[in-house]
Structures are given as C-alpha cells and as structure tokens.
C-alpha cells in the first residue's frame, strides 16, 4: 500500500472511474501546491493508521499462538471428558479389620413414570408388577392413569430389578439415580456402625462420629472389629437371651494389649438398612451408652486396689461370719461361707462382706483415685457419639465406698468395665479403647500410643491368679474352655428400683480373659434380667447364665484370634497360676 503511494508520487495515473467511452487523451494534471499538501496529509494518515492496525493484528496473532500452543491446551476439554481415576461415591465405605465391607454407598435407581406418555396403563401396570412383585397392580394402574406428569413408582431398586424393568421396555417409565447407604451385614454391627438419614448424613455410631471424614475422603475407614467374631458374639448372646428370656444383652471382645474393640454387640438390635422401623429400645447401645451397676465384677478392681496399695496381701483375710450392718443397710453374702476368708477366698466365693471390708480399709479417697485412673468415673473415650456418663455417688460416703467395693452404687458402661479389666490383666497398663484399626504398615512410622501404668505388674500377676482361680475352682466354673486358660469373675447385680433393689430383676455378667498366663483378649457378657431355667436350677446369676456364654465364645473365638490351646496341667502354667488358699479354704465348694 505504501509502495503504491510512493509510486503515485512520480506518475499520476488516469483516474479509473472515468469511463473509457468518454476517454480523452491524457492531459497532465497540473500539480499545484494545494494538491501536494493534501496528498502528503493523506499519506501520513494512512501510514499512522496502517501501523496501528498492523500492531493490533500482531498482538492478536501472538496471543492466538500463545493460547493455542503454550497455554494449557487441554483445559477447556476437561469439563466433558470423564476422568478414569478411582470411582468416587458420596460417602466412603466402612470396612472391618480384614477389609470386609460393613457399610457402602451404592448408586440405586428410583423408578418413576410420566402417565401422559403411558400408552396402556393396565398392561404397563401388569408388566411392572411381574418385575416387582412387591407392588400392587391396582395402585400402580391408578397411578399410571392419573393426569399428572410425574409419579414415583418405587424407590431404590436393586441393579437386577432395574435391568428387569429396562427389559420390559415400557415407554414413559424412567429411572432417576441416587446414592443409597447399604449395610450388607444387616444388623450385625448396627450399634457400632450407626445409620444415616435419607440425605446420607450420619445420625449415629461411626457414621456420625466420622461423618466429615466419610464425606471428604475416598479411602474407607477400617474398624478394629472382625465380622466373624462379631457374628459369633451376637449369635451366642442371642441364644442366651432367648434361653433365659432376658430383656437385653451386651457383649464385648477387647484386645487386652492394645484396646482394640474386636467385637461389640448390644441386643436387641436393628437393621440399619431400615433404621426408620427400629424402636428406641433397639437403637439403645447397651455396651457404651447404658450404665449399669455391674455387681461383683467390681471385686476385681477392689482386690487390685487393696493389693496395689498394700492394704492387704494375698495371705490376709477378713471375717465374713456375719452380715455387715451400716446404718440402714445390710451387706450380706450370696454364697455365704460364714467364717473367716482369705483374700483369694473372698474373690473366689465372691464375698460381699469381705470386699466391702477391703474397700473400707483402702478408704474412699484412695478408691476414688484408683477407679478414676482406670477410667471408671468418666465417660469411655471411644469413637462413638453414644457414650454414657457413669453415675457416681455424691457425696462419696463411707457406705458408698463399701458398696462400690462389690459393685453397687456406681453405674458404669459395660465397655468401661471391659477396659478396666483389660488393664488389670495385661500387666497394669490402661489402653484407650478404640474402634479405628491402625494399619500394620503405619505401625513402624507411627507406633501406637503407650497406655498409662495404673498398677504394678505384681498386682496384675496376682489378679491373673485370682481370676483363674474363680474359673478353676470358684463361682465361674462354667466359663472354662479347656485349653484356653480362661480366668474371670462373675457378677450378679440387683437392678435398682425407685426404693432399694429388686431381687427379681438381675444384671448377670461374666468378664473373662484368656489365656491367663498372658491374657490377650477380654470377653465380657452381660445379660439384662435373665430368668433361670430348669437347666440352671432356677438360678439366673452370672455364674449360671453368663459364664457358659463366655466359655463358648472363647472356644470358638480363640482359633480365629490365633490363640492356640495350651496344656492347662503343664508344670510351668500351674506354677505361674498357683495360689495358696488358707487351710480352711481347702474344701472346694461350687456355687
């Protein structure tokens, strides 16, 4: 353009718009000053605007190349290309310690119809009912004949049902997908898992306490539970509950060394897949939320405390001839021996009198401190929202000290008791109970927290002997599982009424540990208001109703837990668990 301008300066061409018909011989145009100035102005203007335009186009061009080649060229496509990374559900899975799925989220389809598009409502209804037998043909036909544009037919179909309906090929019937929380094991671990509401928001159990983590992480949460043990515990408890017509039952299997809750069940339970239909009684977690006066199992703590503080030794004893009368209370023995009893005998025959005197000699303040160290005076630190606060006496009078000595007047949750007993038998270390499984590979970099020492190893060793004695020769004989050296303590508590205690309604329990030479697992079984049967001669005490359950659980759980049978009569075992009873105690009494 500029070149032509330059040329135009030298030769003035004939103007093109002059038509050839009128063409005249060219006459040189007279150059005058005015034309020159005008031309010069035009040229300069063109030059300037041309430069500006070229610069503009250059900028646009550079930017174009920059965007097309150098800036994240894939960016605009990311929106419509699905990534093939891990499948992400709205809520992560919950698995057991072996990776077995306990809770998962599934895409489910809900069936709806547009009645205006339905050609033959009766036929469509007939076909739908053939695929979904749960529906009623009359209702469906009525819905399909209505004049609306949208009717729900059935929510949350299984993939198979959905496929069946697709195969029917009914026009006007469509699906809407949504996410549903599914618990494949049904009621198995209902109280630990909890449940979610219709928007998949955790309302109870682990679902609630880990709600945020389950929503934000894709990785599943692994629990310390083992479905096999959980099943075992649950069926044994259910059997005991129906045999003894109990109104409730709870059981816990606890790893004594690490505080892992291997199994925990509370009966009656419910199906979290249909939690809306569960009653409050079914939802109630008796293992962690319920607090009970658990009775004689507390003698484990009383004896440990007295031995650890040096108030008594294994050779000492108390006179249990007569019931103790303190103001308006009378403390008497259930298995009364009416004579002087040594400490092992008090434990073995579960003497209330002896334990009360032992607790009195230790004193209220020391007792309170000891129990609080064992975590029995504060809510259990477990990862569940349903945790019961223990009921402690206020003020803590001497009579309370004595009754707590044999497990009345202080209500704790079964879990607290199991944790306390695990620290007594494991060598004196209190471990925080946990439901969250620590992956073995993280163990190296992130070792598990060490628990606090709550009593000396010697005391723990003495208690192991005492607990073994109870099963070998005392009130807990029915808990024996040959080969596994079960030790434990029976407990039978009368339920508190508005006025005093009810002799008819009992809380019968047994807390056991095995193998007693080096306890690895604690098993607790509690039955709420069991009734005696002819087989138990009408007794409904812990030794008769709860101990046999522990025996069966230990026998079947030990192989799963990797605990092999040992020779109960081996000299080393006998020496370790040997205990000296006073001469008077040689006469071995059962119940």
């Amino acid at each position: 353009m500029l070149g032509r301008l330059r040329r135009g300066r030298r030769t003035i061409r004939p103007r093109r718009h002059i038509k050839p018909a009128f063409a005249q011989p060219c006459t040189p145009i007279r150059r005058d000053e005015r034309n020159d100035v005008a031309l010069e102005t035009g040229r300069t203007r063109l030059l300037i605007s041309g430069t500006v335009l070229i610069l503009g186009f250059a900028v646009v061009g550079v930017r174009l190349v920059n965007i097309a080649l150098f800036q994240d060229a894939l960016e605009p496509r990311a929106a419509h290309a699905p990534h093939a990374s891990e499948l992400r559900m709205g809520r992560a899975d919950i698995v057991d310690r072996n990776g077995e799925i306990l809770a998962t989220t599934l895409q489910t389809a809900s069936l709806f119809a547009n009645p205006r598009k339905i050609l033959d409502a009766d036929e469509a209804a007939h076909l739908l009912v053939s695929a979904l037998p749960g529906l009623r043909e009359v209702e469906i036909a009525a819905k399909l004949k209505s004049n609306r544009g949208f009717v729900w037919l059935k929510r949350n179909l299984s993939p198979r049902q959905q496929w069946d309906i697709i195969k029917l090929g009914i026009p006007g019937v469509e699906f809407q997908s949504a996410e549903t929380r599914v618990y494949p094991h049904g009621p198995l671990a209902a109280h630990v898992l909890g449940y979610v509401d219709i928007d998949n928001k955790g309302l109870a159990g682990v679902e609630k306490s880990f709600d945020t983590a389950l929503r934000s992480n894709a990785a599943p949460i692994a629990l310390t539970m083992d479905v096999r043990l959980q099943h075992l515990l649950r069926i044994e408890l259910m059997a005991a509950m129906s045999t003894h017509r109990a109104i409730g039952a709870t059981g816990i299997i606890l790893d004594a060394r690490h505080g892992d809750v291997m199994a925990m069940t509370s009966l009656p339970d419910f199906d979290p897949n249909a939690q809306g239909r569960a009653s409050d009684n079914q939802r109630f977690n008796r293992a962690t939320l319920g607090v009970y006066e658990l009775g004689s199992t507390f003698k484990i703590f009383t004896t440990a405390m007295a031995l650890d503080y040096g108030v008594v030794s294994m050779e000492d004893g108390y006179d249990a001839t007569k019931p103790i009368r303190v103001s308006r209370f009378t403390i008497r023995d259930y298995h009364a021996k009416k004579r002087w009893l040594s400490v092992p005998e008090i434990f073995m025959y579960s003497s209330n009198i002896g334990s009360a005197k032992m607790a009195r000699d230790v004193g209220g303040d020391a007792q309170r401190e000891f129990l609080s160290q064992l975590g029995l005076l504060s809510p259990a630190p477990i990862e569940l929202p349903e945790v019961g606060t223990p009921l402690t006496p206020k003020p803590w009078r001497p009579i309370n000290t004595m009754t707590i000595g044999y497990g009345h007047g202080l209500a704790v949750s079964p879990l607290q008791l199991a944790v306390g007993v695990s620290s007594v038998v494991n060598g004196g270390i209190l471990n925080r109970p946990t439901l969250i499984h620590r992956q073995p590979e993280s163990e190296v970099s992130n070792p598990p927290p060490r628990g606090d020492r709550v009593m000396s190893e010697e005391t723990s060793q003495d208690l192991r002997r005492l607990m073994r004695l109870v099963v070998a020769k005392g009130t807990g004989g029915k808990a024996a599982a040959p080969g596994y050296l079960v030790g434990g303590k029976t407990g039978t508590a009368e339920k508190a009424r508005r006025q005093g205690y009810n002799r008819r309604s009992l809380i019968s329990s047994f807390v056991g540990a095995f193998p007693m030479t080096d306890p690895r697992y604690v098993v607790l079984v509690v039955l709420d208001e069991p009734q005696g049967t002819t087989k138990t001669h009408g007794f409904a005490t812990g030794g008769w109703v709860a101990a046999p359950v522990v025996s069966r659980i230990v026998e079947h759980a030990a192989p799963l837990l990797g605990v092999g049978p040992t020779d109960e009569q081996a000299p080393a075992v006998l020496r370790q668990l040997d205990i000296k009873l006073k001469p008077e105690g040689r006469r071995l009494a059962s119940y």
Binding site: A81, L87, V182, R228, G483, E568
Partner: protein, 136 residues
C-alpha cells in the same frame, strides 16, 4: 523460476494444511475414544463396587453359618482337641528304601515330644517308646 517457487509454496501450504487437519481430526477421534473408554472404566468400577457389596452380602457369616448347617451336615465347629501344632506331631521313621544304593538313616528327624494337653493317655504314651501312631 517465479512460477516454480509459487508452485512449491502452494504445495507446502497444502501439505501443511492437510497435515494439520489430519492431526486435528486424529486428536479429536482419540479424545472421543478416550472419553468413551473412561466412561466404560467408570461403569466397570461401578459394577465392581456393586459386586463387592453383593459379595459382602452373600458371604456374611450369618448366611455361611446357615448354609453350612444345611449343606454340610457332617461339618461341625472346630473343637479344641482338633487343634495342634507341629511339635505335637509324632515323628515317623522314614525308610527311603535305599534308592540309588544310598541307605538313609532311619533315625527320627526330631525327638518326639508328647502333648500332655491330651492329659492321661498322652502321659502314658510318653513313657512308652516312640510310636508312629501315638496319642488319640
């Protein structure tokens, strides 16, 4: 010469243009393929997810318990006396029958240790000499 240069330029331009379009279409095609594959992978993952849940449902201990009761009436829960360890196994005299002319030693591989867990009978067995049948 001028015409030749022009022809070369036109050739180059058309080759470049063709290559450009070819590559563009190829990329688009690959992208569509990728997106299709990704969709399929997601679908498969979803299927695997559902199958896992179904497996968990079908393998729940309650059901296995019921099925084994029904289908395997001869199978009973493991009893303590059925569990043993290597040490409780008696050693057996092994005679290789002198294969290749080498007579193997007939001595037991490890000393026999009785299991007193099997109480009385095992005790008496231990006082007897090494016997391959031992205990039970």
């Amino acid at each position: 010469m001028k015409a030749f240069a022009a022809a070369v330029y036109v050739c180059l331009a058309s080759v470049t243009g063709f290559a450009l379009f070819h590559i563009t279409y190829k990329v688009e095609q690959l992208e569509a393929q990728l997106s299709q594959l990704n969709k399929e992978i997601l679908l498969e993952q979803n299927t695997v997810h559902v199958l896992k849940a179904e497996w968990s449902f079908l393998s729940r201990p309650e059901r296995i318990d019921e099925l084994s009761r029904k289908m395997l009436p001869g199978l009973h829960p493991l009893q303590t006396r059925q569990i043993g360890d290597l040490d409780s196994l008696p050693t057996r005299d092994i005679d290789f029958g002198g294969v290749g002319g080498v007579q193997q030693s007939a001595a037991p591989l490890a000393p026999y240790r009785p299991v007193s867990a099997r109480s009385g009978s095992a005790r008496t067995a231990s006082t007897r000499s090494v016997s391959p049948q031992a205990t039970e």
